[in-house]
Amino acid sequence: MKVPKKLRWLATLSMLIFMLLISTGCTEKIIVLNPKGPIAEHQRDLMLISTVLCCIVIIPVLILTAIIVWRYRDKAGRKASYSPNWAHSTKLELIWWGIPIAIIATLAVITVRSTYALEPSKPLKASVKPITVQVTSLNWKWLFQYPEQGIATVNELKIPQGVPIRFEITADSPMNSFWIPQLGGQMYAMSGMAMTLYLQADEQGKFWGSGANFTGTDFAKMYFDVDSVGQDQFDQWVSKIKSDSPVLTLDGYKQLVEPSTLQARSYSSFPEGLFEMTVTKYASSHNHGMSHKDMLDMSTSDDHDSTHGEMPGMDMSH
């Protein structure tokens, strides 16, 4: 073939550029493969295992493809055998029904086990008590409430290193998705539901998170900083906010809900039960014969772990 040669050059060149980019200092930016917490680490391992498993079939098949296409091209004086009517072989076909079945079966076992192991609402094993952060996706910013500390922040998440964080995630906006790639996979933020996601940072350092699901005009500005610090530093930070930052009032929250983009900020306190109110505001229409107060009681009760993905009082079967 005459044409392809030049283009093959082009391909080689572009692949070279590509490799160069990958190898020159970009690798640490591949953050999903550079995890900083147990969940993200487990997920990275899964990616690598499944890739290797698939490659067991795929690489030989790619090589086989190249060999077959090369060897059986029609060329004058070609000596390769030609059997135009050979179209069936039970033995061969059993082999290639068998190989994918074996690989997929292996992968299936791994997947199911890790699906249960990594269920996002499952508490992490740790010697310390987890802290809770209530996450609300707003247009176009994130509100983080620390109910145990009594403080709140916007677009800034500070967490103590080595402590499991129990995120409770909802939205007072179109559906979004809460994602901190270096700590672990994402979880949707949906109105009327409080989703649970456990993450933990094993190292100190600065990471970032984002809103991964499209929510409109300034959706691309929903990045937030994640700062993992030592427990002392975290406590200092909390007390500093408690003494220096303004109060988040209910009116203040209503302003936050209005569409806008914001820089990071913090609040020394927030209205009690704000998160539960945000959730039940939308879920209340689902209640069947339950009063608003019942639902508030339920959602603030301690029995959180059974409620992932569903709002208490919201019975999907109706």
């Binding site: 073939m1 044409v3 283009l7 391909a11 572009s14 590509f18 980019l21 970009c26 591949i30 999903v32 997920q43 899964l46 990616m47 499944s50 890739t51 490659c55 079939v57 795929i58 098949v61 790619l62 493809t65 077959i68 296409v69 059986y72 029609d74 390769a80 055998s81 030609y82 135009p84 050979w86 179209a87 069936h88 076909e93 994918p100 997929i104 992968l107 997947t111 199911v112 699906t115 996002p120 179109p174 559906m175 994602w179 672990g184 996979g185 994402q186 979880m187 949707y188 109105s191 991964a212 699901n213 499209f214 409109g216 005009t217 959706f219 691309a220 229409s285 992932h308 993905g309 569903e310």
Partner: protein
């Protein structure tokens, strides 16, 4: 009064962006040019009689493919605009709202108004010819399907200049697509554009199932049917079970927006999750609907150009049928991250992985069709060979995505974007192009220039890898889909730039294809396909002249085995002295052309436009018109005729004269 008109127009027409004004002017000029040409050459009557009212499956197929190319152009421009925007960090080329509209229309157009009509076009042109039929089972319905598709596509595209485009993504997830967050008319254009064309798709599904099951020439048992009609059958089965779900879902969304219902709203007891489940119950089968026929095309091509029987025919048939059924059991893998719990996620992860098995088998069978064959690498085969590695890698990343806990990291990222583009471009688009190049001589009676075709292929193929391989890495770098811009500190710039270059290469590839077609038309006398069998084909469509006469087969063929035409050629070669069986020509029963489909689609368009703008004065007459068209057709007994023997003989003689001259 003037003020009144002004204020109406400023809301009605899309204004503000110089790029849109530029597009407005070019659209207007194109329309004027087309109208002028038709009038100048006095082609109106010809256009109406020969094309717009035609019920001939071959002409309908060509109109489908032509529309698909127009839509490919528009969707491609959308893609290039997006890539241009992302080529640099903090880019201001497009405003966020404009960008949101562009990725939405890109997705909708490429899947529903490019891939679907391209596929239906190939169904139409080839299926009847391959099964020895003279038309589809319901020719009138076929024409109606096309015009409904066309009306829907035009309604959707109209949002570009009137009212504003939808901007909620190609699947329009609520609550963002509800009135509360999306009060403009764009979303209503989306609903009605898809609804109207969706009815057409459903009818095509029914039509081809009936055609394949009932119209096969004597001797074509199901297990002696070529692979392409099999793939069409499996795809159409998925269509008839999934498209009603789409219609119902969009109807509910419409009621939310139009009548204040609360199916998917946040308040009043609505539940957006319900929409997401429903839309993917259609959406996932949909991607198999478009890829299965591509599998059929590759099977035909790989066998023809390896000059060898297709390996594992039975496996291939079972594999496609399994895929068609399994495609309905995987929808929740699109939202592992919505907290369905480990039980549900495990189930859908497993069903998703299962699909990899029959798909893998198909790849092995294609490879072993080539094994011990004699491969000639003409353009259709080139696309097929390009497809295999591309699809293998796309399949690999698909399996990675199906590992539910890992998907929490892949979801919504560019890794996912790269994956589905790889299977859709590498599988569907390469497949349809392969099919188009393969059957082009049969459709138009002349061959295309191979040299330009190879340039087009290599630009597409290399452009594809340059564009999408970096996107896998970008996904792992945390880049999420649908972001309009990104900052320098993320480190995403170099790979995005490479990706944009790749998109540009694919843009150039499209120009090569356009040039190839113009070149072909210009030199068509020189490249006429006089044999009717330019590739040394194996199936029935190659046994008749190119292009096929409007009745396809002067005498309905008697088929005795798979690849019947190939076997027939072998028999003739071995026994040149045995003359072909004496053929007795009989009058042929054919359907009459009808203007009702295009009129009815026009009325649907009116009704849809009325719904979009809440103009009952337009909706009501539109729907009334639809009803009147239905009645008119019901009472029309003059729907078919017989071609007399004399005319058949004349036509055949004329074809022979051309082919021997």
């Amino acid at each position: 009064m003037l003020e009144h008109i002004k204020s109406f127009a400023s809301g009605f027409f899309v204004t503000g962006d110089p790029m849109i004004y530029g597009a407005d002017v070019s659209i207007l000029l194109t329309i004027l040019a087309v109208l002028f040409t038709l009038t100048y050459f006095k082609k109106w009557r010809w256009l109406w009689k020969e094309w717009l009212t035609s019920v001939d499956h071959k002409k309908i197929g060509i109109m489908y493919i032509l529309s698909a190319f127009l839509m490919l152009f528009r969707g491609g421009v959308d893609a290039l605009l997006m890539r241009a925007q992302l080529a640099m960090p903090n880019s201001n080329l497009l405003q966020p709202d404009h960008y949101n509209e562009i990725f939405t229309t890109h997705g909708v157009i490429m899947i529903l108004f490019m891939a679907m009509p391209f596929m239906f076009g190939l169904f139409n042109v080839i299926v009847p010819l391959q099964i020895g039929a003279r038309d589809v089972a319901f020719p009138f319905l076929n024409s109606l399907s096309f015009w409904l598709f066309f009306a829907g596509a035009m309604l959707f595209n109209l949002s570009f200049v009137i009212g504003g485009s939808p901007d909620a993504g190609w699947l329009a997830y609520p609550p963002y697509s509800e009135l509360m967050y999306n009060p403009g008319v764009g979303q209503d254009f989306y609903i009605w554009g898809i609804q109207i064309s969706g009815i057409g798709s459903l009818m095509t599904g029914i039509n081809f199932i009936a055609t394949i099951l009932k119209m096969r020439a004597p001797g074509i048992k199901l297990m002696k049917m070529p692979l392409f009609p099999w793939s069409v059958l499996s795809s159409c089965i998925a269509i008839i079970f999934s498209f009603p779900i789409l219609t119902a879902t969009l109807a509910l969304l419409f009621l939310d927006r139009y009548a204040g219902a609360h199916f998917f709203t946040l308040d009043g007891g609505g539940n957006p999750m319900m929409y997401i489940n429903l839309i993917w119950m259609w959406g996932h089968p949909e991607v198999y609907i478009i890829v299965l026929p591509a599998f059929g095309i590759f099977s035909e091509i790989v066998s023809t150009f390896s000059r060898k029987k297709l390996f594992g025919y039975h496996s291939m048939v079972y594999a496609m049928m399994i895929i068609s059924i399994l495609s309905f059991l995987v929808w929740a893998h699109h939202f592992f991250t919505m907290g369905s719990g480990a039980d549900v996620n495990s189930f859908f992860a497993l069903t998703t992985m299962l699909i990899a098995i029959p798909t893998g088998v198909k790849v092995f069978n294609w490879l072993f069709t080539m094994f011990r064959g004699r491969i000639t690498v003409r353009t259709p085969m080139l696309w097929t060979i390009g497809f295999i590695p591309c699809f293998i890698v796309g399949g690999l990343t698909g399996v990675l995505l199906s590992v539910a806990p890992a998907d929490f990291q892949f979801h919504n990222s560019y890794f996912l974007i790269a994956h589905f583009h790889q299977v859709i471009i590498g599988g569907v688009v390469f497949g349809y192009f392969a099919g188009l190049y393969y059957w082009w001589p049969k459709m138009f009676g002349f061959t295309l220039n191979e040299h330009i075709g190879k340039w087009a292929f290599w630009f597409w193929n290399i452009g594809f890898y340059v564009c999408f391989m970096p996107q896998y890495v970008l996904g792992l770098m945390g880049m999420t889909r649908r972001v309009v811009s990104y900052s320098w500190d993320k480190g995403w710039w170099p790979l995005n730039l490479v990706s944009t270059i790749g998109a540009g290469l694919m843009g150039i590839a499209f120009l090569f294809q356009a040039w190839q077609i113009f070149h072909g038309i210009k030199h068509y006398r020189k490249n006429r396909d006089t044999t009717g069998d330019p590739w040394n084909g194996r199936t029935l469509e190659w046994s008749i002249p190119s292009p096929a006469p409007h009745y396809n087969f002067a005498v309905v063929p008697q088929v005795s085995e798979l690849d019947d035409w190939w076997e027939e050629k072998q028999r003739r070669e071995h026994n040149p002295y045995v003359p072909p069986a004496k053929e007795i020509i009989e009058p042929i029963h054919m359907p009459k052309n009808s203007g009702i489909p295009i009129l009815m689609a026009g009325f649907w368009f009116m009704a849809g436009f009325g719904f979009v703008f809440h103009w009952l004065w337009l909706t009501v007459p539109g729907l009334a018109g639809v009803a009147i068209c239905m009645l008119a057709h019901s009472f029309n007994d003059d729907s078919d005729y017989y071609i007399p023997i004399e005319e058949i003989k004349e036509t055949e003689a004329a074809i022979r004269k051309v082919t021997t001259s």
